[in-house]
C-alpha cells in the first residue's frame, strides 16, 4: 500500500469514526450541559445512557420499530432525570452523591431487565448515505450517517442560540448563576432545575438508543464502558457551551478511531498509547484550557454549591 493510500485510509477512518462514535458523547454532553447550566451536576448520566440503551433495544425488539425504541430511551432517561431532580431538591442533599447512586441504579436496572435481550436482534435505525456518489467505498462508508447525528448537531447549535437569545435560556442560566436573582424574579429555582435535569436525562437516554440501535448496534452489558462518564467530563472541556460540546465529541470520536485505524494499515507499535489517545488528548486540552482561567469563568457559579 502506498503512503498516500495509507494516509487516506487512516484519515477516512478518523472522519468515519468521528461521525459514528461521537453521537452518544454529543447527546450525553448536551444533556449534562443543560443540567449544569441550571446549576446542578448529574453524574448519573452513565446509568441513564445504559438504561436508555437497554430500553431502546427492548422496545425496538418488541414493537419492531426502532424509532419507538428511541422514544422509550428518552422517556427512561427522563424518569431518571426527574428522580435525580426530585431527590436533589430536598434540603441538604448532595447532587454528586445522588448522581453516583443513580448511576448504579440505572446500570443495575438495565442489567436486570436487559438479560433476556442480549440474544435477540432488534431492528436497527436507518441511515442516510451521503457518500454514494464519490465512488470510494471507504469514504462512502464514513459518510453513511444516522439521522440522530444530524439531530444532535442541530440541537447543539440551537441550544447555544437558545441560551443566549430566549427567555427560557435566560431563566436557565440565572438558576445556574444566581439563586438569589432567580428568587428575586419570582422564579422557582427547583422548578427550573427539575425541567433542566429531566431534559438532560431525556437527551442522554437518546444517546443510549444510538449505542444499542445503531452503532455498535447491539445490547450487552459492556456496551457503554464509561462513555457516559467521559461525556460528563467533556462538558467542562467544552466550557458549558453546547456548540463546543459538538466539536469536543467529534474530536473524541476521531481520536478513538486512531488506534484501530493505525493498526489496520500496519502501524502496530504502541497501540496501547494510541488507544489511549482520547484520554491523553483530554488531559492536554484540560491543562491548556485551565491555564488561562476561561473555564473557571464560564462555569455556572451555583454549580456544586450546597445549601
Amino acid at each position: 500500500m502506498s503512503d498516500i493510500a495509507t494516509l487516506a485510509t487512516v484519515l477516512f477512518a478518523m472522519i468515519g469514526g468521528a461521525i459514528r462514535v461521537s453521537t452518544p458523547f454529543l447527546f450525553v454532553s448536551l444533556g449534562e450541559c443543560v443540567t449544569e447550566k441550571a446549576g446542578r451536576i448529574n453524574l448519573g448520566l452513565e446509568g441513564t445512557l445504559v438504561l436508555g440503551a437497554m430500553a431502546a433495544y427492548m422496545v425496538a425488539y418488541e414493537t419492531g420499530d426502532p424509532w419507538l425504541g428511541v422514544l422509550a430511551a428518552g422517556c427512561a432517561g427522563l424518569i431518571l432525570g426527574v428522580m435525580h431532580a426530585t431527590l436533589c431538591s430536598l434540603p441538604r442533599v448532595n447532587d454528586v452523591a445522588i448522581g453516583i447512586a443513580l448511576m448504579s441504579f440505572g446500570t443495575g436496572l438495565a442489567f436486570f431487565f436487559g438479560k433476556p435481550y442480549i440474544q435477540p436482534q432488534a431492528p436497527r435505525l436507518p441511515s442516510v448515505e451521503l457518500g454514494g456518489w464519490i465512488g470510494n467505498a471507504q469514504l462512502a462508508e464514513a459518510l453513511t450517517i444516522n439521522p440522530l447525528f444530524f439531530i444532535g448537531v442541530a440541537l447543539a447549535f440551537f441550544l447555544r442560540w437558545a441560551f443566549d437569545n430566549t427567555r427560557y435560556g435566560l431563566l436557565l442560566r440565572m438558576a445556574g448563576d444566581s439563586v438569589a436573582a432567580s428568587r428575586a424574579m419570582g422564579v422557582s429555582v427547583d422548578g427550573v432545575r427539575l425541567a433542566a435535569t429531566a431534559a438532560g436525562g431525556f437527551l442522554s437516554g437518546i444517546g443510549g438508543a444510538f449505542l444499542s440501535l445503531y452503532y455498535p448496534g447491539s445490547w450487552n452489558e459492556a456496551l457503554s464502558s464509561g462513555q457516559g462518564l467521559m461525556a460528563v467530563a467533556l462538558v467542562i472541556f467544552a466550557r458549558w457551551d453546547p456548540q463546543r460540546c459538538f466539536y469536543a465529541a467529534m474530536l473524541f470520536g476521531a481520536a478513538g478511531a486512531l488506534g484501530p485505524a493505525l493498526q489496520s494499515v500496519g502501524i502496530v507499535k504502541g497501540y496501547y498509547f494510541f488507544n489511549a489517545a482520547p484520554y491523553i488528548l483530554t488531559l492536554l486540552i484540560m491543562i491548556g484550557a485551565g491555564r488561562d482561567g476561561k473555564a473557571a469563568r464560564a462555569m455556572p457559579s451555583e454549580l456544586g454549591v450546597q445549601r
Binding site: G16, N220, P260, S264
Partner: protein
C-alpha cells in the same frame, strides 16, 4: 458498583438466614441425593461467546440423570467468587465446582479448595500446578487453535484480497496461538495470505470492536474473525459491511446469514460429561485435562452461506487431519520480526505452545 452484584444467590442467602427457605431446602434433601455441580461464569450466559459456550456445555450436563446443576453468571473475579463457591457448597451441596474464568483461580479457587477438601474444583485455563496446588483442584481446556486452523484453511479459499482481519483483545498466549493457527491454515492454500491483527486492549469493548472491524475492512480485509469475549458486535458489523466472517467460541452463524463461513467452537460438554461420569462412578477426577479435535473438545460451526464448495472440502480434510493429531506448527518457523522462534515441529500437545508469545511471519501486528 456493588448493586450489580446483588444476584439471585445473594438474595437466596439472606433469605436462608432469615429461615425463609429452610423448609424448602429440607424437603429437597429428602427426595434423593443428586450429584450437584456448580458452574460459575464471569459474564452473561447468552453473550454469543465464551460464557455461552460454557453454558451450552453445562446445559448438556443437565440432561445427565442424577446430575443437578447450579449456575451463577456475572460473577466478578474478586472475593465475590469465593462467596459464590461457598454458598454453592454449603447451601446447594455442590460436589464439583467448575470455575470458567481466568482470574477465578488464584487466590479464590485455591482458598476454597483448601477450605473444602471433600469438594472437587476445576478451572478452565491452565494455571494448576501439580507441585504447588491442592489435589482436589485442577485445570481443563480445549485446544481451540485447532478449530481456528480449520477456519484459516476455509478462509484461504474464500478470500479474494488474501487479507484476513483479526480483532483481538489482549496479547496472551492462547490468543496469539489462535491468530497464528488462522495464518498457518490460510497459507495452506493461499501462500501469500496475511492476517492483520487489531488489539483492542480488553475482553469486551463493543464500540472499539466495531471500530476495529470497520478499520480492517477499510484496509482491504474481506474475511473477519476475532478473539474477544462476545463476538456478536464484530460479526454483525462485518455482515453489514458485506465482509465474510469466521466465528469464535460459540456459534454466531445466525448473526451473519450472508457472510458466515465457519467458526471455531469449544465443545465443553465432552469434558463436563466426562467429569460427571467420573463422579457418578466414584472415580477420582483427572487434574489436568487437555485436548482438541482428537478428543472431541472443539468443533467447527456448520458451514455458512459464504463457504464455497472447495472451502468446505478443504476444511473437512483439515478437520480429519486434526482428529489424526497432525501438528499445526511445523518448524522451522519465524516470528513476524524475522527471528526464528520455532526450531522444530511442535506436536499439538507441546507445552511450548502454551507459552506462545509471538506472532508468526505473515501476521501484521505486534504483541506490544
Amino acid at each position: 458498583m456493588d448493586l450489580d452484584k446483588l444476584s439471585r444467590r445473594t438474595v437466596l442467602k439472606s433469605a436462608a438466614a432469615t429461615g425463609l427457605v429452610t423448609a424448602l431446602g429440607a424437603r429437597a434433601a429428602h427426595a434423593q441425593a443428586p450429584l450437584v455441580v456448580g458452574a460459575i461464569y464471569v459474564g452473561p450466559r447468552d453473550d454469543f461467546g465464551y460464557n455461552q459456550a460454557h453454558a451450552l456445555g453445562i446445559a448438556e450436563l443437565k440432561k445427565v440423570r442424577g446430575v443437578k446443576v447450579v449456575e451463577e453468571e456475572n460473577v466478578p473475579e474478586t472475593i465475590a467468587v469465593q462467596k459464590t463457591m461457598e454458598s454453592m457448597i454449603q447451601l446447594d451441596g455442590a460436589k464439583l465446582i467448575v470455575a470458567t474464568s481466568f482470574g477465578y483461580f488464584d487466590p479464590h479457587m485455591l482458598a476454597m479448595a483448601t477450605k473444602f477438601p471433600q469438594v472437587e474444583f476445576r478451572h478452565a485455563v491452565g494455571l494448576w500446578d501439580e507441585k504447588k496446588h491442592p489435589k482436589n483442584a485442577g485445570s481443563y481446556f480445549g485446544y481451540l487453535d485447532q478449530a481456528h486452523y480449520v477456519n484459516g484453511v476455509a478462509a484461504g479459499l474464500v478470500t479474494k484480497t488474501k487479507k484476513i482481519g483479526f480483532i483481538a483483545a489482549k496479547p496472551i498466549p492462547s490468543l496469539l496461538r489462535n491468530i497464528n493457527a488462522v495464518l498457518v491454515g490460510a497459507r495452506k492454500n493461499a501462500p501469500d495470505a496475511t492476517v492483520t491483527v487489531i488489539f483492542t486492549g480488553d475482553w469486551s469493548l463493543p464500540v472499539r470492536e466495531a471500530e476495529a472491524t470497520n478499520a480492517l475492512i477499510d484496509a482491504g480485509c474481506d474475511v473477519i474473525t476475532c478473539h474477544v469475549d462476545s463476538p456478536k458486535v464484530v460479526v454483525q458489523t462485518a455482515e453489514r459491511r458485506g465482509a465474510m466472517v469466521l466465528g469464535h467460541n460459540a456459534s454466531q452463524a445466525s448473526l451473519a446469514p450472508r457472510g458466515f463461513v465457519t467458526g471455531a467452537e469449544y465443545k465443553w460438554e465432552t469434558i463436563y460429561q466426562g467429569f460427571a461420569g467420573n463422579l457418578a462412578k466414584g472415580e477420582k477426577l483427572p487434574n489436568w485435562v487437555r485436548g482438541g479435535y482428537d478428543l472431541d473438545y472443539v468443533r467447527n460451526t456448520a458451514y455458512g452461506a459464504a463457504a464455497s464448495e472447495p472451502a468446505r472440502r478443504a476444511a473437512d480434510a483439515a478437520i480429519a487431519e486434526m482428529k489424526a493429531g497432525k501438528p499445526i506448527f511445523v518448524g522451522p518457523f519465524k516470528d513476524n520480526k524475522g527471528t526464528v522462534v520455532g526450531t522444530k515441529t511442535y506436536d499439538n500437545y507441546a507445552p511450548e505452545l502454551e507459552g506462545m508469545n509471538y506472532l508468526i511471519e505473515g501476521v501484521v501486528g505486534s504483541t506490544s
